[in-house]
């Protein structure tokens, strides 16, 4: 199977790394060319991915896709690349959307004093992400997993003179390491039982493993997935990660990295298929995250944080989708989400850029007149994310929601529908507060972000074109690919991997797909109506500043404190660990352990003093001791002889 070589796959994998190294090593000399270099290499990578379509979907000797072995540590530890339909989809998003975002960043980051470093990090991130999705084994996956975490750490902490950015970066990294550790444990379980790290070997052996073991493996893997995909309770890093530059948020914390968990579950579908309880667990966590993220999203004022919570919530949907077993549904939602969420973030970036880094929607308002392009971009994005029929989000979300029912999880189905309504509420809330009414901020918004904060002339088209390009798939890709149930191009694309959706359905849904769509649409309308009533209606517009202030004051503490998850982690884990460190470092080490040694020294001294007292310096005393000792021998032998 290794006889066929796939240089294109290797090349598309390594090109971003080359970009990263070049930007890092020659950044100061290349200056602004860095951006073009990085974007160009990622673009070439995308073209190579397109060119690899044929090999990725082929079925050669029982192996689906293009498999390229690289190195082997020892038998069972073989590393290689695998480009199959699933990783192809991810590769498209990573390189395609990635290309657009890098292109956009050339404008957004213009004038930043670490311009080259930014593009080095972005390219490195893409390399890491490609490593993650192209690996044909668990360790390679984990390598990508860790590198992605590192790239995310770099990018969150990109403006590292800000203490908040540094802290956010550290938090993100440490929580991601928790996930890595979970995956490592899964690898231990796998290697101990299967003696191989290759996906093929493991999935082939999966039916023979005991239920408990498969559940344990899935659980450990899902710890990794949860950390990376910001699932409850490992989600707290994601909102803080918005400290990074906005394109970073678009690329990493919306389009690609955070969906790695979805990829993992979709990739390990053969394992999940063998453990119903693991599926239930994943679906439940996904549901809780979707609902929790949506609820928290209603309480935010920072435009990027609203988008972050919506991301968390949408990933909850995806996780739910892959969790219940509707893999192509979850992946479809990932696919469309990547477009519309990138679009939303980049649109928000336009606003933020224009408003000199103002992110609070309370200080915005009325922007649709000043920045119509940004408004339309945001509006299409919001419509898509809410699942308004016809937009991409509608098809993918529908697939997830209906999938839950198809696989016999009515509760999750219900949670999905409620969450859809809440999503509509907070997304429209953001849109209305930021774009309608009167401008409430102090900074005068420049038209469409023509002027950057540094006063230099930013090439506006560099930022606008990628956003405009993104609008197309976020509106149309769903309708084009995902319409038609089992016969849609999407389902047929994944059929070699998963079979058709309806063939795997285990329950006959009492409600048809059409009805489901209608119900979802109605809840979305309801959410929209509430948002309209509260923020966009004539009455609401009249005294907007006062109402917003009142709402800020009355916001429930449990929401502003984000359900106290951070608080609990701080109290239960971080502080006890620090206290323990203080105890060990200040008390145990110097006083107990070293104290024991010092006691030893003390007694040695004492013994020395004791013996020293015999050293009187008197020759006669020495003679006396000597003779007494000799006499003792004599007495001993005499007594011994006498006894004998």
């Amino acid at each position: 199977m290794g006889s066929v070589a796939y240089p294109l796959v290797v090349a598309l994998w390594l090109l971003p790394l080359a970009g990263a190294v070049l930007c890092w090593a020659f950044g100061p000399r290349l200056r602004s060319a860095c951006g073009w270099l990085a974007a160009g290499l990622v673009g070439v990578s995308f073209l190579l991915a397109v060119a690899s379509w044929g090999s990725a979907t082929q079925n050669l000797g029982g192996v689906l896709g293009a498999h390229q072995p690289l190195v082997s540590w020892m038998p069972g530890f073989d590393f290689g690349l695998l480009l199959d339909p699933l990783s192809l989809i991810w590769t498209f998003i990573i390189t395609g959307v990635g290309f657009l975002i890098v292109f956009y960043s050339i404008g957004y980051m213009d004038g930043d004093r670490a311009f080259a470093r930014f593009f080095a990090y972005m390219s490195f991130f893409m390399f890491a992400m490609l490593t993650l999705v192209l690996s044909d084994n668990f360790v390679g996956l984990l390598v990508g997993w860790g590198l992605v975490g590192l790239a995310s750490y770099f990018l969150i902490g990109f403006w590292f003179e800000r203490r908040s950015a540094v802290a956010a970066a550290r938090k993100a990294f440490v929580i991601n390491v928790v996930g890595d550790v979970g995956m490592m444990f899964a690898i231990f379980l796998i290697v101990a039982n299967v003696h191989s790290i290759g996906f093929g070997d493991v999935f082939a052996a999966a039916p023979g493993l005991s239920d408990k073991l498969v559940f344990a493996i899935c659980l450990a893997l899902f710890i990794g997935a949860a950390a990376k995909s910001a699932q409850v309770p490992l989600h707290t890093w994601l909102p803080d990660a918005m400290e990074g530059p906005t394109p970073v948020s678009a690329l990493i914390h919306a389009a690609t990295m955070v969906t790695a968990g979805v990829y993992l579950v979709a990739r390990c579908a053969p394992l999940w298929n063998h453990s119903g309880s693991a599926q239930l667990l994943v679906a439940t966590i996904g549901g809780v995250t979707a609902l929790g993220g949506a609820i928290l999203g209603t309480a935010q004022w920072d435009i990027k944080r609203i988008l972050a919570y919506s991301t968390m919530s949408q990933i909850g949907y995806m996780i739910m989708g892959v969790g219940v077993g509707a893999y192509e549904g979850g992946v479809a939602h990932f696919f469309t989400h990547a477009f519309f969420k990138a679009q939303l973030f980049l649109g928000a970036g336009l606003v933020i850029h224009a408003l000199h880094n103002e992110q609070d929607i309370r200080a915005m308002g009325g922007l649709w007149r000043r920045m119509p392009f940004a408004f339309w971009v945001m509006l299409t994005g919001v419509l898509s994310i809410c699942g308004v029929p016809g937009f991409s989000g509608f098809f993918s979300k529908d697939a997830v929601i209906y999938g839950a029912l198809q696989h016999g999880h009515p509760w999750i189905y219900a949670v999905d529908i409620v969450t859809a309504g809440i999503t509509a509420y907070y997304m429209f809330r953001m849109l209305f507060v930021a774009f309608l009414g009167e401008y409430r901020g102090e900074a005068a918004p420049d038209r469409a972000g023509r002027e950057s904060e540094h006063g230099t002339h930013a090439p506006g088209w560099v930022m606008n074109v990628p956003v405009a390009v993104l609008v197309v798939p976020s509106v149309a890709v769903g309708g084009a690919l995902m319409f038609g149930g089992d016969n849609s191009p999407w389902s047929r694309f994944f059929a070699p991997l998963y079979g058709t959706p309806s063939s795997r359905a285990i329950a006959v849904p009492p409600i048809s797909e059409g009805v489901t769509s209608l119900v979802v649409f109605l809840t979305v309308i309801a959410g929209f109506a509430i948002a309209w009533q509260r923020y966009a209606s004539r009455g609401a517009q009249a005294d907007a500043p006062a109402r917003l202030r009142r709402e800020t004051e009355r916001m429930p503490a449990v929401l502003t404190n984000l359900f106290y998850v951070d608080w609990v982690i701080e109290r239960l884990i971080v502080r006890p660990a620090q206290r323990l460190g203080e105890l060990f470092g200040r008390v145990v080490d110097p006083h107990v352990l070293d104290g024991a040694v010092r006691d030893l020294v003390f007694w040695a001294r004492w013994l020395g003093t004791l013996v020293r007292s015999f050293q009187t310096g008197l020759v006669r005393a020495y003679a006396l001791i000597l003779v007494a000792g000799a006499a003792c021998f004599v007495v001993y032998y005499a007594v011994a002889a006498g006894l004998r």
Partner: protein, 456 residues
């Protein structure tokens, strides 16, 4: 013969360096670096060739028998590499004497790792303490540290010597390292093992015998502590591999649980303390305690995969701890302090320094793709395969803690707002960069292809 040259060259050069003029710093460093580089070459050329000369025939057979085993070759290579980098990076007062000590240290440690005779091993064990003692006494911060180091390790050397003598008398020969021998069994075996183990545990160090280590590591000048933490601390682990497991496997197996427990305690204890330290060198010192606990666990498990991983991790730890100490030395040299509380924001003006420190710290925290991860992964897979679950879980917790304290170290030095009272100094120049570049490159290579260590 070449192996003998490898050992004697640094010793002779170190001794002869004292004849050079005291003031001429550049000549001293050139000679030192040249010798260190030549030693790397001769070591590679010597490979696993052997040289032997009969020494004792009563009360047991012993020989001046040198030669690398597949395991010790890599550790010796690590040693020569780190020594070359460290000597190149030496910029202390009384440079001539310091470089001479560094060469003597390298020579004695080469003797230790290349010894194929237990008695030679014990001899070099004690000899290698001497240069460090003088390093601490002459360049350290407190003379008591030197004595503490010496007495602690010399006590270990004593039990090592006793165990060696007992082994020789019972087995009849000490010319046994790297040779297929019938394992020693019987009532004496546990006691002999205890003698060896005490020495090894002190040297590594493993909790609770580690209290000499933080002051030693923070007191020594950076080049020497790089060598000591990178390689000298491996003497104990190498001893466990080449002596404990090879000669007394039953004893190691019987007392595996205590060894693993000590390793596990070290792992957590070192990590938790490193979390709150303020002195950057002490963070790395305690991280060393934590990291080497992992190798102790691997040895206790006795699993073949874990032992492979242990070798990888030994090399990896040598590389990243040497790099960390050298880089922290550069930081201290620039800013005259190594307290985290007083440093910050150096990365803006020193991007190369920050980048290098970042790579070293990432390798230390086990970033996938770098050497530390490869070792960690193989060790833990092996330990898990051997049926020990609790050490694996402890190690995983320690990995999370490691990411926290190493990022804290890196970020508090390099990130954050620039400290107003920290003078702005120039970035790493090409020479300084060259002193750490080989270590960082090796970290990447070993991380991607650790199989090189056992496919040789």
């Amino acid at each position: 013969m070449l192996v003998l040259v490898t050992i004697l060259l640094p010793l002779a050069a170190g001794a002869m360096l004292f004849a050079l003029p005291r003031e001429d710093r550049s000549v001293t460093r050139t000679v030192g670096v040249a010798v260190a580089v030549v030693v790397v070459v001769t070591l590679v050329l010597a490979g696993t060739s052997e040289w032997s000369f009969r020494w004792l025939s009563r009360p047991f057979q012993a020989a001046f028998h040198f030669g690398a085993t597949p395991t010790s070759f890599w550790i010796a290579l690590l040693l020569t590499m780190v020594s070359a980098c460290a000597i190149a990076a030496s910029r202390v007062a009384r440079l001539r004497d310091f470089v001479a000590l560094m060469l003597l240290l390298e020579g004695t440690m080469l003797g230790l790792f290349l010894a194929r005779d237990l008695l030679l091993f014990a001899l070099f064990w004690d000899l290698m303490l001497v240069p460090v003692f003088f390093g601490l006494a002459g360049w350290g911060e407190h003379p008591a540290t030197a004595w503490r180091y010496f007495i602690y390790n010399f006590a270990g050397g004593l039990t090592l010597l006793l165990a060696t003598a007992a082994f020789g008398v019972i087995y009849g020969s000490t010319d046994v390292i790297g040779r297929a021998v019938t394992p020693l069994v019987g009532a004496w075996a546990p006691w002999i093992y205890a003698g060896f183990a005490f020495a090894f545990l002190v040297k590594t160090p493993v909790w609770p015998l580690h209290t000499w280590m933080p002051p030693t590591y923070s007191g020594l000048p950076p080049p020497m502590v790089a060598v000591v933490s990178a390689v000298q601390s491996k003497a104990g682990l190498y001893g466990f591999l080449a002596i404990g497991l090879a000669l007394l496997p039953h004893a190691v197996h019987d007392y595996a649980t205590p060894l693993m427990a000590l390793g596990a305690v070290s792992l957590l204890y070192g990590a938790v303390i490193a979390l709150v330290q303020n002195d950057s060198k002490r963070i790395v010192a305690y991280s060393s305690l934590s990291h080497l606990g992992l190798v102790a666990i691997a040895i206790g498990s006795g699993n073949a995969l874990a032992l492979r991983g242990a070798l990888v991790y030994i090399i990896a730890h040598g590389l990243f701890s040497a790099a960390l100490f050298l880089l922290l030395g550069y930081v201290e040299e620039r800013e005259d302090t190594r307290l985290l509380a007083r440093l910050g924001g150096i990365g803006w003006k020193n991007p190369k320094l920050a980048g290098a420190l970042c790579i070293a710290a990432l390798a230390a925290l086990g970033l996938p793709g770098l050497a530390g991860f490869a070792g960690e992964l193989l060790v833990l897979i092996g330990v898990y395969q051997a049926g020990y679950v609790w050490p694996v879980i402890v190690a995983l917790v320690a990995i999370v803690l490691a990411s926290a304290y190493l990022l804290r170290l890196y970020q508090d030095l390099m990130n954050g707002p620039e400290e107003a009272d920290v003078p702005v100094r120039s970035d790493l120049n090409w020479y300084e960069a060259l002193t750490v570049a080989p270590l960082l490159a090796a970290l990447v290579i070993v991380g991607v292809y650790p199989a090189a260590l056992w496919h040789r």
